[in-house]
């Protein structure tokens, strides 16, 4: 008797789920919304600003070629290499800027914490797949481009269960 009621209760609990909303996120059509414009760091206070740790964004007008991001990445992923850039800036005498290999990057964001000149931030872009290994290496010119992201799905909690509306 006890066993029978237990099994009926278990079945009943499953049947209730026919009526609640679908929780699945239909990924390529719908994308999750993130907080802010990506992980940033404020060197004056020494505290980061919450955001998604995705692909980096490099501001050429702030980068001085000091290599601190490259040094921060040593021992973590060694994904950052300093390369020559054609453009000339007064504050960047050596004309070198970081180039990031996303085949190695672990997206920890310690390079963003290391930058004292507000030049390196992270963005919400996480779709970085490529057909070749070379395609994963982002040059300073590619890192300069602000990614286009359309992410609008959020978890909504309704009376009929949670859903990605």
């Amino acid at each position: 008797m006890n066993t029978a009621t237990g099994i009926i209760k278990a079945l009943n609990s499953g049947i209730k789920h026919l009526a609640i909303k679908r929780f699945t996120l239909r990924y390529p059509e719908e994308k999750l919304k993130f907080v802010g414009d990506g992980y940033q760091f404020d060197p004056s206070t020494g505290v980061g600003i919450a955001g998604y740790k995705g692909r980096h964004m490099l501001f050429h007008d702030h980068c001085t070629g000091c290599q601190l991001c490259s040094i921060a990445c040593e021992g973590v992923a060694e994904a950052i290499a300093m390369v020559k850039v054609p453009e000339e800036h007064k504050h960047n005498k050596k004309a070198i800027m970081p180039q990031i290999d996303y085949g190695k990057c672990v997206f920890c964001g310690l390079c963003v914490d290391a930058c004292p000149f507000y030049a390196l931030y992270m963005t919400n872009d996480y779709e970085l797949s490529s057909f070749s290994k070379e395609g994963l290496i982002y040059t300073p010119a590619q890192l300069q481009v602000k990614p286009f992201v359309s992410q609008d799905s959020e978890i909504k909690i309704t009376d009929r269960g949670a859903t990605h509306g």
């Binding site: 006890n2 066993t3 237990g6 099994i7 209760k9 278990a10 009943n12 609990s13 499953g14 929780f23 699945t24 996120l25 999750l32 993130f34 907080v35 802010g36 990506g38 992980y39 020494g46 505290v47 980061g48 600003i49 919450a50 955001g51 998604y52 740790k53 601190l68 921060a72 040593e74 021992g75 973590v76 992923a77 672990v106 997206f107 920890c108 964001g109 310690l110 914490d113 290391a114 992270m122 978890i155 909690i157 949670a162």
Partner: protein, 378 residues
Amino acid sequence: MNNELPPGLALQKVDERIMTLNVGPQHPGSGHMRIIVQIDGDFIVACDPDPGYVHRGEEKMAEYRNYITNIPHLERPVIHDSCNILYPYVLGVEELLGIEVPERAKYIRVIASELNRCVYTMYWLAIYGIFLGHSTMFMWPAGDRELLIDLLEKMTGARVTHAHFVPGGVRNDLPPNFEDVCLRQVNYFEKRIKEYAAIFYDNPILIARTANTGVLSRQDAIRLGTTGSVLRASGVDYDLRKKEPYDIYDELDFQTNVLKEGDSYARSKIPWLDMMESCRIIRHALQKMPKSGSVRVKLKPNPKGKGLDSVYKRVESGRGSLGCYIVSDGKPEPYRVKLSVGSFRNLIALPYLLKGEKLGNMPAVYWSLNYWPVEADR
């Protein structure tokens, strides 16, 4: 000559009744490890767990990196519980460098580590469900985990491997309006996990399968040195959050869950009960948290220890006591980092639990140990 070979490869005398069976390392039911079982018909007469297939040399790697760059790789052993595996390391480095952590950072750490404990436990519960043949219990926790992963992603910026804790606090402050979102989703999460009782924990089929299998008595649990949910399921009230409170756990209102049976059912129920306590801790911490203030002490990018010094810190992770022993010799790199993990200590109980069980009960006993092979191998 036979003695020189590793235990699994040695030639053995063929017995008429006893058969040796290798479960794993490719078998999905064993994780990244091998369990050598000797069976007589359907009954296990001896069992020899053989971990070490995913050894990554984390401890040796930590000797070549400085105190900050150790953070991303030290959380790799358990990516679902990455805040908790970093916790003892960060607490230890803070004591070595003599840093005082801001009050708000301590609360953020506790919230992050409790969320992470729930994320790990849900993943474990999904695996436990599928290996008992309960597909619903695989789908529900895997879906409901998303509620907490979403919160962690808002907090730290990554869905797994957050790299959020640093010596001196946390990397970034909470995003605006986080408290409301967190409270709403944690309340809904608690409501959801209570529904698991009817379909899983009170289900007579599960009870028939797991009750009275792999019984670990109270004396044996203490003698074998098990920790965490395995120890608490055997009737020993031992939780490091209560016994050695770190950060602000002594100010929060929660209780530990203890069951006396010591069988697979009790061992699988304790983490589920702990998740409800975690929800209580999160709610209480959100209530008591200072509304503003610093979250990180400014540190040099390459901090150094003060001469020859050593420290041992431990926390309660999703799998039991997780300790970190750090030796400093005054250089930017630690001289030695030793991780003492709960998974490895709980595995010691496996040969004692499986003796005399049926082979079909092996997944029920093995996964109830709350064992994570990658963490045990480090």
